[in-house]
């Protein structure tokens, strides 16, 4: 038994993660969800090498042509290939939300755990500020910052990470309260473990479950926010392809060229549904009820 590299704790943690993954995969929602998400991620990574055309190549002779052998999903109002733009249209969204989600969950989670543990006056005051932030609609908060500082990803990532971390504070705080009241925490204290040990060994792993499900859901809401911003003209700047922007552009020609709308609609919907199904399966596998939470 001398060759075991991992400590028992790490070993069981790995086993548990694998068990959770197996549990997620065993549910129909998990299988479909993970497959959709994986397909989107793979396509987003390899799409620059497999797209048939240049995404910004315009052709005035090919404006708003229907699907054909050369252009499987037709062309848009500037004669650009829709398939190419659909394949590339999720990259920016996935990049921005893929970076912003972990940041939001980490800063919101840490602050939430901190205030959950500290409690008292400080906590009371801080929660009022959190409530105040939550009472403003997301679109207003974000648009004001974006209009002031510009629409690049260097603005979008911190903006999304900041505003989407605020509701995480509440979730993490509630989860902390929930865990702290359990017997195993008292047991660990009674065993004489220090505060740091109790927090890192007993509290964090339990709060982490909630945060993982929360993270998956934040991700889908961020995508929703990102594509809505793009749709409104405050996200990705043209000629870069983005699903929200493509839908906004193609809407005007919808009556005679619906293919321009359908491609990005299906791509965006399948990704968001995939993430949600995965989050659902993950919540069930970890035994967390997520139905009661409305997005903020």
């Amino acid at each position: 038994m001398t060759k075991i590299a991992t400590t028992p704790a790490e070993n069981t943690r790995l086993q548990r993660s694998l068990g959770v993954l197996r549990d997620v995969m065993a549910r129909p929602s998990g299988t479909i969800g993970l497959t959709l998400v994986a397909c989107h991620l793979i396509l987003a990574i390899i799409s620059p090498w497999i797209v048939p055309y240049d995404y910004k190549a315009m052709d005035s002779l090919l404006m708003l042509k229907g699907p054909s052998g050369a252009h499987w999903l037709g062309t848009d109002h500037l004669g650009r290939d829709v398939l190419t733009r659909v394949l590339l249209g999720g990259r920016e969204a996935l990049l921005v939300t893929g970076i912003a989600t972990p940041i939001a969950v980490i800063w919101g989670g840490l602050l939430g755990i901190f205030f959950g543990l500290v409690g008292g006056r400080l906590d009371e005051v801080f929660m009022r500020v959190v409530d105040a932030f939550l009472s403003l609609p997301w679109i207003l908060k974000m648009l004001v910052l974006i209009v002031t500082f510009g629409t690049g990803i260097e603005v979008l990532i911190p903006t999304l990470a900041f505003f989407y971390g605020i509701p995480v504070i509440r979730i993490a705080r509630a989860a902390t309260h929930d865990v702290v009241a359990r017997d195993f925490i008292s047991a660990a204290r009674a065993r004489g473990h220090g505060r740091i040990t109790v927090i890192s060994r007993e509290l964090l792993p339990n709060v982490l479950d909630t945060l993982m499900v929360e993270g998956a859901m934040r991700w889908s809401w961020m995508l929703l926010a990102f594509s809505s911003l793009s749709f409104l003209g405050f996200g990705v700047s043209p000629p870069k392809p983005d699903w929200g922007l493509m839908i906004a552009d193609a809407r005007g020609f919808m009556s005679f060229a619906p293919w321009g709308v359908l491609g990005p609609v299906i791509a965006l919907s399948s990704l968001i549904i995939g993430i949600n199904l995965t989050a659902d399966a993950l919540a069930k596998a970890l035994g967390i009820d997520r139905a009661q939470k409305a997005p903020v």
Binding site: L136, P137, S255
Partner: protein, 316 residues
Amino acid sequence: MLMRRLFLGAITVWIVSVIIFAGVEVLPGDACTAFLEREAQGKLLENCRETQGLNRSAAERYFDWASGALRGDLGVSANGQKSISELVGNRLRNSLLLALCALTAGVPMAIFLGVVTGLQRDKPVDLVFSTTAVFAMTIPEFVSATVLILVFSVWLGWLPGIVLTSAGSPVSEFFPEIVLPVIVLGMVMTAHILRMVRSSVIEVMAGDYIQMAILKGVPYWHIVFRHALPNALLPAINVVALTIAWLLGGVVVIEVVFNYPGLGRMMIDAISDRDLPVVQAIALIVATVYVGVNLTADLMTMVLNPRLRTHALRGS
């Protein structure tokens, strides 16, 4: 208890007003630089700041703005022409009309379907509606709106896909143009409430007292209506409130898609034009509505829940 809630609500609105004011204050530029754009320099800028009263200290201006808002006076828009309260009035009414239509159609349906799916857990009915709900609540509003316009307006020609009525028109003129926006808004709302009611019904039906009633031989529908539902539906009030609050953001996109003359579209226009006084005013209104809706939900729960009611009466 009751007073405490009201007090906390008021505190939240106050903090929001400070955040809004400070936020606009911290951002580079002010109402005058935004209004004058490139000509914002020298004498012109100073004159503008003089007439808008931007030369006074921030605290003074905050006090002015906040006390004005309390009296229902939200100041004037950046170009200094119109009173914001006047501009906002009709828009707010239109947005509330949209929300109210969606609520009256969506909430009863959501509660009914939530109860049915909860009682029929994992049966075909449940699977169909729960899955549809996931789709409805996760797909962005602009996507479902676009698809609905494509199907019902472009292909079938049943309903108008765009609202052409102007902001000040009487309510009756918004029909039938308002139908599609209401459907989109109602769909998202129904989905959220349905899922909440469903999980609440499942939880209550698994409770000991329900098992006890079943063992005692109480008829099934008696159990459902007399024992389970009153307990299962109470939490739904808060979810309805949360959903309404969240829709204040979603409604913006819907208003833009359908060209609906509501508060949301006004907000987008104001932000694009950098009309900061209008942005501030709308932010304050929306936040107040949010706090108010949540407060109402808390009060309703308190009144309808016998346990909380006695507690509240004794406590206060």
